[in-house]
């Protein structure tokens, strides 16, 4: 089965208080040198059929209308290579 990954991130101009909280916690735990943290979402979609242009177009449509809110979020769609 083919897997398509949709990553959704808050747009750069939208404040991400969760990412900021994670960033503030890192030095306390001894993880120094991390300048910024942004937190997002990853969706792994397992396709029944082949990953062709039509399937990817449908997934982009799903990402645009449902998985991401494009008012505040950007998304990327990529095909993940099958594990051997």
């Amino acid at each position: 089965m083919a897997r398509v990954v949709v990553d959704v991130m808050l747009k750069p101009e939208i404040l991400d208080p969760q990412g900021q909280a994670v960033q503030r916690a890192l030095p306390r735990l001894g993880f120094a040198g991390i300048a910024d943290v942004r937190q997002g979402k990853r969706f792994e979609l397992e396709l029944e059929g082949p990953v062709d242009d039509a399937a990817l177009a449908r997934i982009r449509e799903a990402a645009e209308t449902f998985l991401a809110n494009t008012v505040i979020e950007d998304f990327t769609v990529r095909v993940e290579e099958e594990a051997k």
Partner: protein
């Protein structure tokens, strides 16, 4: 004929009964609407109540927005039916694109629950005509994702067209841009509000009764229509 105001129950709605009660105290007949039922049962207006529909999964309001009842509500709202979205209902209205912008995580990351002072900025909408412009009211506020955000040009447009319905006073509880607590669409029939007027309709349970005006406003508007 009694005015009928529908209140939608989604899985995870919390304030649907309080909204129904507010509708009744305002003098209208509350009608329970079910998320899976496309039929609006001849209601004259709709309230989308607060709560955590679908557990706030994906994004607040993102899944409810695609429920069968919303198809009909979106269609009717575009034709002028008054719709008030409170808290989670406001989130559903933004996800439906009936209102611009989005509601995001409070800047403090805390869930905030307090009696909140607001200024009514626009007393000409279907839901605020019983207030006067500039009137200050206190109603409960309770949210974790109530921070209103939108592009600068959208914010400027909202301000220029008088579409900011209510603004936070004294304290901005969640980091909302320009202290925005509620907005309306271009035609003034759809209003989204983060605080909870339906919890401020009786002296016994509310900090004030100043929330009742939202429900009496729509009643007046419908009776005079």
């Amino acid at each position: 004929m009694t005015t009928r105001v529908g209140v939608v129950t989604f899985p995870g709605s919390l304030d649907d009964r309080d909204a129904q009660r507010a509708v009744r105290l305002a003098g209208a007949e509350p009608v329970a609407l079910w998320h899976r039922d496309k039929d609006l049962h001849q209601v004259d207006a709709v309230v989308l109540p607060g709560g955590f529909s679908y557990g706030d999964y994906l994004r607040c309001g993102a899944i409810s927005r695609f429920s069968p009842v919303m198809d009909t509500i979106i269609e009717q709202a575009r034709q002028g039916m008054p719709v008030l979205g409170i808290c989670n209902g406001f989130q559903v209205l933004c996800e439906s694109h009936l209102l611009p912008g989005a509601l995001t995580r409070n800047d403090s990351l805390h869930f905030i629950c307090r009696d909140q002072k607001l200024r009514i900025e626009n007393a000409d909408t279907a839901w605020t005509s019983d207030y006067s412009s500039g009137q200050e009211i206190v109603v409960p506020l309770k949210n974790g994702e109530g921070r209103f955000v939108a592009d600068e040009h959208v914010l400027d447009e909202l301000e220029a067209e008088g579409r900011v319905v209510a603004r936070y006073l004294d304290v901005n509880p969640n980091g909302s841009y320009r202290d925005i607590a509620g907005i309306t669409n271009a035609t003034g029939n759809v209003v989204g509000l983060m605080p909870h007027p339906e919890h401020a309709v009786e002296p016994l349970t509310g900090p004030t009764t100043e929330g009742l005006g939202f429900f009496t406003s729509v009643l007046k508007q419908l009776v005079n229509a």
